[in-house]
């Protein structure tokens, strides 16, 4: 079984989806001969040809809008936005069209498209390249939002996203693209788009995280175990819909919860999870719910970037804080 990095797993899933369905096409900026700036589409242009792997003109709004039209008429476009900082011009099409087409035509026209974009910080990229915008997307009704945290989950979730009959935004934590690899079998098996992954079962504390934050959360989980704190670690993975049942069940068991995300705190998706628990699991709560998140400020340029990013130490601090509460 091949050891794949996340970027390789994504490429493998793209390739498989294109093999199995001739309606799957890829377009975006530099996805063709260059193979994408992160090489997610490396070799696909050569293999599937210039009509199925297309370099668009430099226009993000167009990429999204063209995907809507193509999806409504029989293709399954997988469009790439080069960095999440350039995703804003797509929001009009995502919110006003992609997410509504099925609903507003009462099922007559549909929109099976995927919009992929790398997101998040940690690789010292230039400004506007490191944003985390999942909360804005998750607020749009009719859209699915997915963030993988490992090569295997990237593979399975991306296949699911491409096969899904509705629009999916697939955000890839670029910090994890090459940071580790794991055995990924190209079985064509998709993962569910509405289930969180319980990475470790524990009894004392629930940690919910996604994307690149899973790394710090996992490290924190290990370190906390050393001091006898047993963590239920959840990779949210599908941010919309949120698998509320899994999180609630976990917190009902542990009574404590820390939520971790890279995006700014205020109105981040951590708020939704916390609010859901504050409504549905209040009596189980043994301590305040803590969010470990990016600051409510602009992601700094690379010299200060590390100070912005939530890391293992922050998570452990928050966990201890929550554990010490009584």
């Amino acid at each position: 079984m091949a050891e794949l990095t996340m970027i390789e797993a994504i490429r493998t899933a793209l390739s498989r989806a294109m093999e199995e369905d001739p309606d799957v096409i890829i377009f975006g900026e530099d996805v063709g001969i260059d193979g994408g700036v992160f090489r997610a589409t490396d070799g696909l242009f050569q293999h599937f040809g210039s009509s199925r792997v297309r370099d668009t003109p430099l226009s993000e709004a167009l990429i999204a809008g063209m995907a809507v039209g193509a999806a409504a008429h029989g293709l399954r476009p997988v469009a790439e936005i080069q960095f999440s900082g350039f995703i804003y011009p797509t929001l009009d099409q995502l919110a006003n069209h992609a997410s509504r087409l099925r609903n507003r035509t009462r099922g007559r026209l549909t929109c099976p498209m995927v919009l992929r974009a790398p997101y998040g910080g940690g690789i010292k990229a230039p400004e506007h390249h490191s944003e985390s915008i999942e909360a804005m997307l998750a607020h749009i009704p009719g859209l699915r939002v997915v963030i993988p945290s490992t090569p295997a989950r990237a593979y399975g979730l991306l296949l699911a996203a491409i096969r899904d009959p509705d629009p999916v935004v697939f955000l890839e934590p670029k910090r994890l693209y090459r940071s580790t690899s794991e055995a990924v079998e190209d079985t064509g098996e998709a993962l569910p788009l509405d289930k969180a992954f319980v990475l470790q079962e524990g009894t004392d504390l629930t940690i919910v995280a996604w994307g690149a934050m899973i790394k710090g959360a996992t490290e924190a989980t290990l370190q906390l175990a050393e001091s006898g704190i047993s963590v239920d670690l959840i990779d949210l993975a599908t941010l919309k819909p949120i698998d509320r049942a899994t999180i609630r069940a976990s917190v009902e068991k542990t009574g404590r919860c820390v939520i971790v995300h890279e995006a700014p705190l205020t109105a981040g998706l951590g708020a939704e999870i916390s609010a859901d628990l504050a409504e549905h699991c209040l009596t189980s709560l043994l301590a305040p719910i803590k969010r470990v998140a990016g600051y409510d400020t602009v992601m700094p340029y690379l010299r200060l970037e590390a100070h912005y990013m939530p890391d293992t130490a922050h998570i452990i601090d928050a966990a201890r804080n929550v554990m010490e509460f009584s």
Partner: protein, 354 residues
Amino acid sequence: MPTRSAGFQINCSAFLDAVGKPIGDLPKFARNKDILVALYSAMVKTRTFDSKAIALQRTGQLGTYASSLGQEAIGVGVASAMTDDDVFVPSFREHGAQLWRGVSLEELFLYWGGDERGNDFAKSRQDFPVCIPVASQFPHAAGVALAKVQKGDPGAAVVVAGDGATSKGDFYEAMNVVGAWNLPVVFVINNNQWAISVPREGQTAAKTLAQKAIACGIPGEQVDGNDVIAVQAIISRALTRARAGKGGMLIECLSYRLGDHTTADDASRYREDAEVSAHWQLEPLIRLRNHLVATHGWTKEDEQLLLRTCKKEVEAATDTYLATAPEPARAMFDTLFAKAPADVAALFEEVGNG
């Protein structure tokens, strides 16, 4: 030392003058009475629908409505040049085109009455519904055309929007990719001279809207948008080109918005009656009727019968519309996803009034 890199020219075509007199030779189809009567009837039906829709809105029986008064030749001219292989991607003012494409009067009433079922057309099911966010439908047309090329499907996409829409980036970006990828899209601008209160000159310093095609390397032309023959002729030509793999084209149809922007608007706030009256002389129905009378023996009786028929149809559709009960509240979730996530399904019960 400047050297010349490129040169361009924009043309404008017309076949009937304002009183219906042919300007030179008519195209072949326009010498056929049946065809002309069909075009005329469609325009009359559109206008009949239009007045009824306004009346219904005024009496609280319809939502905000955008009249196509005076611009019927554009919708009818465009749609009559299309086939079932083509895909129509409309703005919110092309009722005439939608009717010609087979969208029913009932469906139009439902849509404008605030019922999503009005978008679930029984016919021309490949067509897009009305697009409210101005110009955001242009990229859809490019996507539809891409799908056609990719799948080897016949036909082209035809997208219509207003003069105001040409100021939006979407218009330009879509036209640009259509040029770059040689996609079969016909861009149609209903230049009715106004975008709510902003006159055509307020949108752009470009002398014509057709010349905007030059920016994208595709041909652009103007046409008298009150001349249904000219509209059909030029759209047919553009479609033939597109279907033959020769790429997209931009057609600016020159017309005038005789009514308010919508029923929520009061155009007297920003334009002179005199301007409107002058344009009543150029509107599309009179000239074709004159031509039918002069050349094809169209009689007062023919006219009366047509008006009666249109009225009856519209009244019948109105009755059906008014008798259609709203969907149950739950319908707002039923087609949100192919399969509703647990989350959404549960919230429907949980959050509110079910």
